[in-house]
């Protein structure tokens, strides 16, 4: 391995050739502040426009300062990361950024989690010497995301996410000079664009320029309305991340505390989306087997591979970008919507609550779910199956607002019947989990034999595109997995070009799957956090007594009492959906 | 045009075109062949070089003066656009500045036809690589 020797802050160091000054310093424990730069290790995600100029350092022999995030180390380089010249430059640059930024910290949703605010604190900014005009833009509200562009600092992280990682291409820099800003083309509204609401832009925005639509006040209002029965479902990935909002180590499972907190907040029933995930497996797994057996029988009309459909951003993505493939994804609704549908029929009937008086709230790691629950096909006479979807972050805010000491809460259980779930439902929260859950059930339904092992390690991991072949009692089932819409696109293109053949494919929009969702506590560019959440999810799965969806007793009961069998007429009506060409 | 296939071909063409231009100068009516080059770069066009050129073409034709009016690039005297270079057979080129219609008329009548210089000559102020 080639190395170079250089001196950083008077200390000599030998580092790998080709790395940046930033990384070299980091290795020595020297922190160089950065604002625009963001790198998610192992996910191949890096934003390095070299635009904010906060990371500048002094390199001997150079005329001007060098951005540490972009400058490669070189033999004999002498670097000062905190000289007077550097500190003055950093402070001045930050002052400039702040001089074009609304001083809204007191009322900004990002306050306390804002990288710009932190930076102002870190660099000891006490006065802005260069005041002047501030750029102003129209605020843009969509069903899921608010763009408060006045707070944009042009770090371009969202643009990189939307273009390079998601290949959706909605956000890009427009205008020049002082008016330059990141926006959909022609400053059109997000909801007129092909935005998928994946929320990855929100997940990485260092400031309050991109945030989710806050619906906590609606939830509070519903909770305080005595005429309403308010029930809540919580998605698998929430329990693996919520603790971070309360100072816990990433990867701490807080399932019990989560249930307790929701109950404390006053929800009448505290249910689990994992239950609906099990239900999804029943429907999707059955659909997959049907298609597969018809395919094997030589039916020409059958389309393979089957694609998962539980991620609403992915659904919107293919509706815009691959409408020709809209017959291929499973017609199964997402767990959130299955839950809402069952809650407002089966459960409402059971409890004799009128649909109008039942409010379904979901706690989601996801921003797109806000949009999904508003889709027309998920409403009955204008009344949505899911009334409000709030993010993990919003829930944390609500818990803090209600003065609940989360860390001291006892562990509680979910309510029945819609709170019982299996390990298969839990792993929906990570990339590879949906397909693993489906395999566990499909295998047994197909082979009529019990699985020899439950853990399919070949399906797990953080690789952007993964593939595996599972032996279905002699039949080699070819499985593909993609997370991140860019990877999904590449996988679909491989299929279209005939380069790859699969029977079933899982697609999740967010890097890492829902654990990396746009509504999760901010990772601030630390990919370790995602990995720890993933470990937690598999840990929860391992802890479950029942780990196969078709063995969930309440699922079995639901079919017996209400739905009949998977893919029945009723199931079709309540649990399946159709897709639209949005081009 | 046929393709030039070798360096020797190129040299031949060069000689041809050079002798052609020379020949043109020494043609049947040496005293009458006049070359007029109008500076037709953006700066010239903006100040009316197109009109000037058209005027020269029309006028010289009408008066049956055997002349060759061509365009050329910016001569550098942008302060004096439109500029026109006139080469009378056997004489050094002369550049005139601010050549509008009236001036063009004067150049044709006085310089081209009678060989008398007119006001507004621009002195050449540079060397070329051949000097």
């Amino acid at each position: 391995m080639d190395t170079v020797q250089l001196t950083i802050d008077k200390k000599p160091v030998v580092v790998k050739k080709g790395i940046t000054i930033l990384d070299a310093a980091k290795g020595m424990g020297i922190h160089i502040p950065t604002l625009c730069h963001m790198k998610l290790d192992d996910l191949n995600i890096e934003n390095r426009p070299g635009g904010c100029r906060i990371c500048v350092v002094e390199v001997n022999g150079r005329r001007n300062l060098a951005p540490a995030c972009c400058t490669e180390v070189a033999e004999g380089m002498v670097v000062s990361t905190h000289s007077i010249r550097v500190i003055n430059a950093r402070q001045t640059v930050l002052e400039l950024i702040l001089s074009d930024h609304p001083a809204d910290c007191l009322i900004c949703v990002k306050s306390g989690k804002c990288e710009l605010q932190d930076m102002a604190h870190h660099l000891g900014i006490r006065e802005i010497h260069y005041k002047g005009e501030q750029s102003t833009y129209r605020e843009d509200t969509s069903p899921a995301i608010i763009r408060d562009v006045d707070k944009c600092i042009m770090c371009r992280r969202c643009e990189m996410m939307c273009n390079e990682v998601q290949t959706v291409g909605v956000l890009s820099a427009i205008n020049r000079g002082f008016q330059a800003v990141v926006s959909p083309a022609f400053e059109m509204n997000l909801d007129h664009s092909v935005c998928t609401y994946c929320g990855q832009c929100v997940a990485v925005c260092p400031t309050g320029a991109l945030t989710e639509v806050d619906q906590t006040s609606h939830v509070v209002r519903a909770l305080s309305d005595p005429t309403k029965t308010v029930i809540v479902q919580t998605a698998p990935a929430v329990r693996a991340a919520l603790g971070e909002e309360f100072g816990m180590e990433a990867g701490t499972l807080v399932t019990g505390k989560l249930a307790a907190a929701l109950r404390n907040l006053g929800f009448d029933y505290v249910f689990d989306t994992d239950f609906a995930a099990d239900l999804t497996i029943m429907e999707e797994g059955t659909e997959m087997l049907n298609r597969l057996s018809r395919f094997l029988e030589g039916d020409e009309n059958v389309k393979l591979p089957i694609l998962t459909s539980c991620c609403p951003a992915w659904v919107k993505f293919f509706e815009h970008q691959f409408p020709q493939l809209k017959d291929i994804p499973s017609t199964a609704r997402s767990p959130q919507q299955m839950f809402g549908s069952i809650a407002k029929t089966y459960f409402a009937d059971k409890m004799s609550i009128r649909r109008e008086d039942l409010v379904v709230v979901s706690i989601m790691p996801c921003v797109a779910k806000k949009y999904e629950c508003g889709r027309d096909e998920f409403k009955v006479n204008g009344n949505p199956d899911v009334d409000y979807a709030i993010t993990t972050r919003e829930l944390a805010g609500l818990i803090k607002l209600a003065n609940i000491n989360f860390n001291r809460l006892p562990n509680e259980d979910f309510d029945l019947p819609l709170g019982e779930s299996t390990g298969a439902g839990v792993i929906f929260g990570t990339t590879g989990g949906v397909i693993e859950a489906a395999v566990r059930t499909a295998y047994e339904l197909y082979t009529k034999k019990p699985l020899p092992k439950l853990d399919f390690h070949e399906l797990r991991g953080m690789e952007g595109i993964r593939q595996a072949t599972i032996d279905f009692a002699g039949f080699p089932l070819k499985i593909g997995i993609a997370h991140g819409l860019g990877n999904a696109r590449r996988l679909l293109e491989r299929i279209e070009s005939g380069e790859s053949e699969f029977h079933a494919i899982e697609i999740m929009s967010c890097p890492g799957g829902c654990i990396g969702g746009g509504g999760q506590p901010y990772h601030h560019g630390n990919a370790e956090i995602l990995k720890k959440r993933q470990i937690a999810i598999y840990q929860e799965d391992g802890n479950k007594k029942i780990r196969k969806s078709h063995e969930n007793p309440y699922i079995i009961q639901l079919y017996e009492e209400f739905l009949g069998k998977p893919m029945s007429e009723k199931a079709h009506h309540l649990l399946h959906t159709k897709y639209f060409d949005r081009t | 045009m046929t393709k030039i296939k070798t360096l020797a071909d190129l040299l031949k063409i060069k000689e041809e075109v050079q002798s052609k231009t020379k020949l043109r100068e020494k043609s049947d009516h040496p005293e009458q062949l006049v070359q007029v080059k109008v500076g037709m770069a953006t700066c010239g066009i903006a100040s009316g070089a197109k009109e000037t050129m058209k005027y020269f073409i029309d006028e010289l034709e009408q008066q049956a003066i055997d002349a060759l009016v061509t365009q050329t690039g910016c001569m550098g005297y942008c302060y004096a656009e439109p500029t026109v270079e006139v080469i009378l057979a056997g004489k050094d080129p002369v550049v005139f500045g601010f050549v509008n219609k009236e001036k063009a008329e004067e150049i044709i009548d006085v310089y081209i036809k009678r060989g008398e210089l007119v006001d507004g000559v621009i002195p050449l102020s540079f060397r070329t690589i051949d000097d």
Partner: protein, 597 residues
Amino acid sequence: MTDYKMNLLICGGTGCKAAESDELKRSFKHWIEEVGMEDEAQVVFTGCFGFCEKGPIVKVLPDNTFYVEVTPSDVEVIVKEHLVKGRPVSRLLYKDPVTKKQISESKSMDFYKKQLRIALRNCGFINPESIHEYIARDGYMALGKCLSEHTPEEVIKEIKDSGLRGRGGGGFPTGLKWEITRESVSDQKYVVCNADEGDPGAFMDRSILEGDPHSVIEAMAICGYCIGADKGLVYIRAEYPLAIERLKIALSHAREYGLLGEDILGTGFNFEIDIRLGAGAFVCGEETALIHSMEGLRGEPTFKPPFPSVSGYLGKPTNVNNVETFANIPVIINKGAGWFNQIGTEKSKGTKVFALAGKINNVGLIEVPMGTTLREVIYDIGGGIKDGKEFKSVQTGGPSGGCLTKEFLDTPIDYDNLIAAGSMMGSGGMIVMDEDDCMVAIARFYLEFTLEESCGKCSPCRIGNKRLHEILEKITNGNGEVVDIERLRLLSSVIKDTSLCGLGQTSPNPVLSTILNFEHEYLAHVTDKKCPSGQCKALLQYDIIEDLCTGCTLCFRNCPVGAITGERRQPHYIDQTLCIKCGVCYDKCKFNAIKLS
């Protein structure tokens, strides 16, 4: 047909005291008639010789005798001695300032040598739409020689030896750039010609493409041969329709003749050139931004390294050179590196084209050897300051450059000297300012430009330049404070120190150099609230001089905001709080009763 044997050319340009020239002409006519030579000698006015220091000037043709500082009283001897007897009047001849020898032939005068046209050699000489005329002037000979007689390494060595440096502003050694691009290993490489020319006031690249497009085509092909590329791209701004048209014609002629395309001159070398139109900002001239723009991306710079020579267009090694740089190449090949590197200074070889503009008599394109002084350019070639005003400053390098004072007039122009003086060569804009120009307003003007043309990618340039501009506006509006000058300095230095690309790294130069050289003007604005050159409207004050005011009410009736009061036949009065300084009253008053201060 009168066949004059002699011509007397009298400079009638605005530079020489026009009245005196008139007088001279009359005097000459008179004496010529007196000696009866009116049929033999003709007297004409010419444009400015650009040698106003020594004006008025009289040139006698055909012998090219050059008389300087001619007064009407000298006319008689010139006529009687020179015209009648054919003996030049030696006391009026130009004396070489170094050798002190009298020189009679204008072609051997230093002044005449001050301009040397290499890049512009064919501009204004050949018909740009005729490939024959180009070939007649050695066109494509250099390409032919390179392809058939030299290896790429030899050609690169020749370019290196010539000392040619990039004319696009940076001054990077061209041969070295070619060598680096040659050494980058890749299956595909590109030659890019940068014809974006965004510097306001610069138009040398346009003129070359309009006047001599083949020279650029030929040079690009030579470059392609050297670096191992078979594809060239010309990035030209869409606002240059004529240059585009001429380039297209030239390309098609070159193709028809097989001087572009496959197997050029039977050597097996292939080269094709495409045109890419840019509609971008000034920043699109920056090479990485230019490449992104050609790739269909937003025209904004990216961090270097990697340099285009290593990873450029579509990620392939790309050699980017400026139009003028290319235009020098064929000459270097034809005349040899040794010929070329004789011209210029130690570290800057050859010539540079400048677009002279501003308060100067001979605005236009000039090409001078490196090492020519600013004084020679401004006075000898440019013909001095318009209307006999006082020289104040010269701005070189466009929005990236600085404003230099009288003290720098004798600085030989080259890359390094200009930088040392606090300015830049830039692409060759040169704007001359006189006593009427306000340096604070000039700095503000350049900042305005930068503000429009910055891509906005990096914070110091996006916001910092805006703040600089705001402070300058504040000062020119009369609201400046002394600390503002210090703020300008501090902010400028941080912007230079931290910006991503050359635009931001140099955009504060006009501010810094004007503060450095004209701090008193800044101080006058902020402390006395006065604009010494009377350019900053907000700092003007119109007053009525009571003694001169007849009370005619004309000003009263014309003031658009009703700031003037007064009784008929009584002195009027201007309410300064209402006055918007439109100057109408000043223009209207017939009694010069309104003064401006």
